[in-house]
């Protein structure tokens, strides 16, 4: 895919930007209106002494909020995040992985359904057939994936079979050096999945994490299991893994890597291959969320295209407003493309600027 900026792309980018700015105004109005906003943001505005509804007109104006602090999402009361406009609606609570301390929590009403329904349009029907059943092998529990993958399957007319993996237990086992137990647990997870996949021939679509995908393919052939499409995510993925999966594991199945998390939503990949060294390129679901790459020291400054920096997320839905959150990831800034005429990210990986390492990508 071309990375040059054509007039058409430029025009598309301008349209997208205009739509983003309008969306920002709508979302800020909602979250800071005393009738619809959440306690958290209404309190925040009162303490800040300015009215975002009056002053935020564009996406760039979000700079006024500074960086969203992840500590705000750790601990309660969690209801402070529920917008008054949604009072009485059933609320789900999703947590992040919990690899460091108290997990971050985000409330959800319909966002995961909207995000995954939108994402569904990016999956090729040939490989993720409508009406086919899905197999989810990976973290469920308090994570968004628990409901999101099932919704994706249902949205496409399928039924989702689930096998759970508890990543927090895996992290503990690794910290204790219980590597044999990690292997036994992984085997236990794959055993369950294989039983289901062999017993239910309409399972044609798979969601799993990179490590579990490898473990599954060590035990069985995706082709023989009848898998046509693999949606893979949840942890870091390298270009080498991407290539390995496509060349050696897929056996003709479609490989759709994804980058997403509980806080932002779900990014869509732009397919790449050997011509781009199997780079993993993601685009955010603009205008509902944005991903930017910023200078690791001057986090107000977006880096040049192709340059490396820290990933900054912004979530802009009526359920959740999270401006300028600095993720624990780094990546290269990717140019807009015809399909996604806004910035993307290339080769997301754990941020190298932290003094201590976090047990990551264990499941």
């Amino acid at each position: 895919m071309s990375t040059t900026t054509t007039p058409d792309l430029q025009a598309a980018a301008t349209v997208a930007r205009t739509r983003l700015d309008a969306h920002v105004r709508e979302i800020v109005q909602w979250h800071f209106d005393p009738a619809t906003g959440s306690d958290f943001w209404l309190d925040w505005a009162q303490r800040a002494g300015w009215d975002p509804r009056a002053e935020v007109k564009t996406y760039d104006d979000l700079v006024r909020f500074g960086n969203f602090q992840d500590e705000w999402l750790r601990g309660g009361p969690v209801r402070k995040w529920v917008p008054k406009g949604y009072t009485g609606k059933p609320v789900s609570l999703f947590e992040t992985g919990g690899s460091t301390g108290v997990p971050k929590a985000r409330i959800n009403i319909d966002d995961f359904r909207i995000d995954y329904a939108n994402f569904s349009t990016t999956l090729p029907d040939e490989f993720f057939p409508k009406g086919a059943d899905w197999m989810h092998i990976g973290p469920s529990g308090p994570r968004r994936l628990r409901l999101a993958i099932e919704h994706l399957a249902q949205h496409r007319g399928g039924i989702c079979f689930m096998v759970d993996l508890d990543p927090r237990w895996v992290i503990k086992l690794i910290k204790w050096g219980e590597m044999e137990m990690v292997e036994k647990y992984k085997k236990h997870v794959i055993d369950q999945a294989l039983v289901l996949m062999k017993a239910h021939p309409n399972i044609q679509c798979l969601f799993t994490t990179p490590k579990l995908l490898e473990a599954l393919c060590e035990r069985a052939s995706l082709k023989q299991l009848g898998i046509k499409g693999v949606f893979c995510g949840g942890t870091e993925m390298t270009p080498q893994f991407h290539r390995f999966a496509k060349e050696e594991l897929m056996e003709g199945a479609y490989f759709a890597p994804t980058y997403g998390n509980t806080l932002m939503g779900l990014a869509t990949h732009r397919p790449t291959g050997a011509d781009e060294d199997y780079a993993i390129v993601y685009y955010p679901p603009c205008p509902r969320a944005m991903i930017e790459v910023v200078d690791r020291d001057q986090t107000d400054k977006v880096v040049d295209y192709g340059a490396t920096g820290r990933v900054r997320l912004t979530t802009l839905t009526k359920e959740f407003f999270m401006p300028r959150f600095l993720e624990r990831d780094e990546a290269e800034r990717e140019r807009p493309c015809a399909l996604y005429p806004w910035d993307g990210v290339r080769n997301v990986r754990p941020f190298s600027g932290f003094a201590t390492t976090v047990v990551e990508g264990v499941y």
Binding site: K211, E218, T238, P239, Q240, F244
Partner: protein, 476 residues
């Protein structure tokens, strides 16, 4: 830039994930090395794949595998071989290995010769390892010796080896593996990817089946996967990195040796005669081998011996890698040198130990020369065997001189890989013969690092790879 690929069943595979290894002097990238992702390693080491690797060797009689190993010895030492997509002469190999490890050329050549020697004498080595077993028994798994039925069974299809970067001489330990009909899966040390790659190329050129080889530069986690997945394993490293495998009988652990020169009470007053043996045991190969002495344990004259060794070893100074007189290797990572020196200093802060080399060399222990960072030889005199430095091992010419009562030896030495036992006192010697803690005994003034390859230490490769099987035939 020069690039070393992964070898999957002997075939090059260029990974998108590469590690850059710097020149030890300039710190500029010198070579890039493909890194295997964990899934790739695990997939290649599925049981059916290991069986395929071994089957390629099983198809060849042991006698022929021995002949090819001998041929490979000369090819390794003399031929131009592929290194990635380029050609590597033996001189290139010496220069390249020196560039990333700092090992002086003369030491690389010495180690090259050591590897060649083992491969070239693999029949003698195997005779030593098997105590003279007719090797063709391994072709069928059964035979007869002195009228007794004899059966053997392979303990694993492949030997996975996690290799160090400190000295290429260690590769001599796994070199006979193929002749024992066992496939090889190697994880090279990050700074020394050269020797195992070149050895594999030599084996292949000598006619060994390429599919019997795996070469997987990779991270720590995947290195552990190699040890976990291969039927048998061998790991080199310090205590912290190898302790996980200490209780796994499938894996032979090569950690610190704590090797020592012991001067018996009958020779105590003649200590000056043995200074050469002591100095050579400590400093040869820049003190990098587990069979280098890290202690000189004596019953008398400890202070005088320490002073004399200190004066002798203070003459060892950094020289250019190309200098034929070079006998000290720098550290590929200067921070490691600083850290080791700080550990020695920390030990010296405990009363009862003195760095006797310092007054002779008149310099700091850490030295910089021609872009390299070195640790100068260090002899520490310890008042007591209880001192924290009395029984330590570091990756440079370091030794403690400790004076202990004769009757306390060998128990007081603790686990010791190699002992050069200088004593004609039969009673004293017998106690060492009876010791479970002493692995290798060099009797008389034979330096600790002088190794006869038919005398295995720290595990016997044949016994590691093959088990005796009870065998009984129906009587006619």
């Amino acid at each position: 830039m020069l690039h070393l690929p992964i070898l999957r069943f002997g075939q090059p595979y260029r990974s998108l994930d590469v590690a850059s290894v710097p020149d030890f002097r300039t710190r500029q990238p010198f070579v890039t090395v493909s890194q295997a992702n964990g899934g790739l390693v695990r997939r290649d080491l599925l049981p059916q794949q290991q069986a395929r690797m071994k089957a390629a060797l099983d198809a060849i009689p042991v006698a022929e595998l021995v002949a090819r190993t001998k041929r490979a010895a000369e090819i390794f030492a003399h031929d131009t071989l592929p290194v990635g997509e380029e050609a590597q002469t033996p001189d290139d190999y010496v220069r390249q290995l020196s560039a990333t490890t700092g090992l002086p050329h003369v030491m690389v050549r010495r180690n090259l010769e050591k590897i060649r020697g083992v491969m070239s004498n693999v029949d003698i080595v195997l005779a030593g390892l098997t105590r003279g077993l007719p090797m063709d028994i391994l072709d069928t798994g059964a035979g007869e010796i002195s009228g007794h039925a004899m059966g053997f069974v392979s303990r694993g299809d492949a030997l996975g080896v996690v290799l160090p970067s400190n000295s290429p001489g260690v590769h001599a330990l796994w070199a006979p593996t193929l002749a024992l009909k066992t496939a090889l899966v190697l994880k090279p040390g990050s700074a020394e990817p050269w020797s195992p790659y070149r050895m594999i190329q030599a084996f292949i050129k000598a006619g060994m089946p390429p599919e019997a080889f795996g070469y997987y530069p990779t991270d720590h986690a995947s290195a552990n996967e190699i040890l976990r997945r291969c039927g048998r394993g061998m790991v080199f490293g310090d205590v912290s990195s190898t302790k996980r495998w200490a209780k796994d009988p499938r894996v032979e652990v090569h950690g610190p040796g704590y090797s020592k020169v012991v001067l018996g009470p009958d020779q105590a007053d003649d200590w000056e005669r043995y200074l050469d043996v002591m100095a050579s045991s400590i400093a040869e190969n820049s003190g990098r081998s587990c069979v280098n002495a890290s202690g000189v344990w004596v019953t008398k004259h400890g202070r005088a011996i320490a002073e004399a060794l200190g004066a002798r070893l203070a003459r060892v100074v950094p020289r250019a890698p190309e200098d034929p007189e070079a006998d000290l290797a720098p550290f590929a990572d200067p921070k490691v040198a600083e850290r080791i020196s700080a550990m020695v200093d920390q030990g010296l802060r405990e009363p009862g130990a003195e760095d006797v080399t310092q007054k002779h060399r008149g310099k700091q222990r850490v030295a910089h020369f021609d872009g390299g960072t070195y640790l100068l030889p260090t002899i520490v005199h310890c008042d007591s065997s209880e001192h924290p430095l009395a029984n330590r091992e570091f990756l440079f010419p370091f030794a403690s001189v400790v004076e202990v009562p004769a009757e306390s030896m060998p128990e007081i030495l603790g686990p010791t890989l190699a002992v050069a036992l200088i004593s004609d006192d039969e009673g004293f010697r017998r106690r060492f013969f009876a010791s479970h803690d002493v692995h290798r005994l060099n009797l008389g003034p034979v330096p600790t690092q002088r190794v006869a390859w038919d005398q295995p230490h720290e595990g016997n490769l044949f016994e590691h790879l093959w088990a005796r099987r009870a065998l009984q035939r129906a009587t006619a």
